[in-house]
């Protein structure tokens, strides 16, 4: 289970959503780039604003259609991937 209460986005990461095809997260520490879909953008921005897990789930529910019942599992999985790639981290 991912604990979102102490989670912060990596301040070095660059997020760009001004392109005509994909949105891009760039981590200069690793040199790797990632593409986010629309739901990913909602989550990323919520993490930037330090929203709680309940707030993020509510945000997804209000802004997305056909939200699956196991959305919390998807959110945990997504945040775990962000952690694994150094895009977010825990405040020590």
């Amino acid at each position: 289970m991912v604990d979102l209460s102490r989670l912060e986005v990596n301040p070095n990461v660059v997020f760009r959503e001004d392109f005509d095809d994909i949105n891009v997260l760039f981590n200069p520490e690793t040199g790797k780039s990632y593409s986010l879909n629309r739901v990913g953008i909602v989550i990323w921005k919520a993490l930037q604003n330090k929203h709680s897990k309940d707030d993020i789930l509510a945000e997804i529910d209000s802004r997305c259609k056909n939200v699956p019942d196991d959305i919390e599992d998807h959110l945990n999985e997504f945040v775990a991937a962000l952690l694994e790639n150094g895009l977010v981290g825990y405040v020590v």
């Binding site: 392109f19 005509d20 994909i22 760039f26 780039s33």
Partner: protein, 297 residues
């Protein structure tokens, strides 16, 4: 006359289409090295004192030179060992820079073999790239081809067939280089590419070859090559192009980036990414699928 007098006052000019660049100067001990370096890049004698200098000197078991007198004369009595000159080891060379001028001093060590010499030349371009990055230039792993006065860039990860593809283009396509370019905005604000040497070629084939590095071509398109079953060409969006351009830039710069990331390196990496975004939004980019047996050849 002192030993450094003629070398640093003349030197070679390495100036790009945005007016930035430097004077390649040397001490007596590094003269043969800089002559060969300038010859490979077809640099002309420098007739301007406005460009910052890039001074090379030799420090190895045969010759030990420290251009303290030169540095003192040029920078008002402040020597190489003073704190404002920051040393940095990059591969086989040491670069000294300072925070007051764009001047650079480079110590080349032992280049007992031809390969050592080429290796140090290859690395010595990094400070130039770093300098140009701050003025909006992007070092780029690509071949530059001219067609009807237009510059076309072909890029791909090593081993994909970039050089082979370029070498097989029809005769009215003129190859300027097949490995490395510097992309900048010229004084008319157009994106142009300067060709740079294929340094690795010297390791395989020691035949003399040169590139006119000060020449440049306006860029009309960038093609990203992919080995495929069938030939195809597709325009790509600016986000995808940004990621690919950034990767091609990193392929050039990462040879001088240490495993340990400094604050300065993070800033350079972010700068390269931002410049990649601008380039991707301005220059048309395409994915070029090439098969071994298709019509491309």
């Amino acid at each position: 006359m002192v030993w450094w007098d003629m070398s640093f006052k003349c030197g070679y000019r390495l100036q790009f289409a945005n007016g930035k660049g430097g004077r390649i100067c040397s001490t007596e001990g590094a003269r043969d090295w800089t002559d060969r370096f300038a010859g490979i890049m077809e640099l002309k004698p420098c007739d301007s004192n406005d460009l910052p200098f890039y001074l090379f000197y030799r420090n190895d078991s045969r010759i030990s030179e420290t251009p303290t007198e030169f540095i003192k004369d040029t920078l008002g009595g402040k020597g190489l060992t003073e704190i404002k000159w920051q040393p940095r080891r990059i591969g086989p060379i040491s670069i000294f820079s300072n925070n007051q001028t764009s001047d650079l001093v480079c110590e080349i060590g032992s280049d007992a073999s031809f390969e050592d010499s080429i290796y140090s030349m290859w690395y010595s371009l990094y400070p130039f790239y770093r300098h140009i990055l701050s003025f909006g230039g992007v070092p780029f792993h690509a071949g530059l081809v001219e067609w009807n006065g237009r510059g076309i860039l072909f890029t791909a990860p090593g081993g994909t067939g970039k050089s082979t593809t370029i070498s097989r283009l029809p005769p009215d396509w003129s190859m300027h280089c097949d490995d490395e370019v510097l992309i900048i905005r010229d004084i008319q604000n157009r994106y142009v590419a300067h060709p740079f040497p294929t340094w690795s070629n010297f390791f395989l084939n020691q035949q003399p070859k040169s590139w006119i590095v000060e020449s440049s071509l306006p860029i009309s398109a960038v093609f990203f090559l992919i080995q495929a079953e069938t030939d195809d060409i597709k325009p790509i969006g600016s986000g995808t192009a940004t990621v690919l351009i950034n990767q091609a830039g990193r392929q050039i710069l990462r040879r001088a980036w240490n495993l340990e990331i400094s604050v300065e390196q993070l800033e350079l990496r972010r700068k390269l990414f931002e410049l990649s975004c601008e380039l991707a939004k301005t220059v048309p980019c395409y994915m070029l699928n090439i098969s071994l047996t298709g019509n491309f050849w």
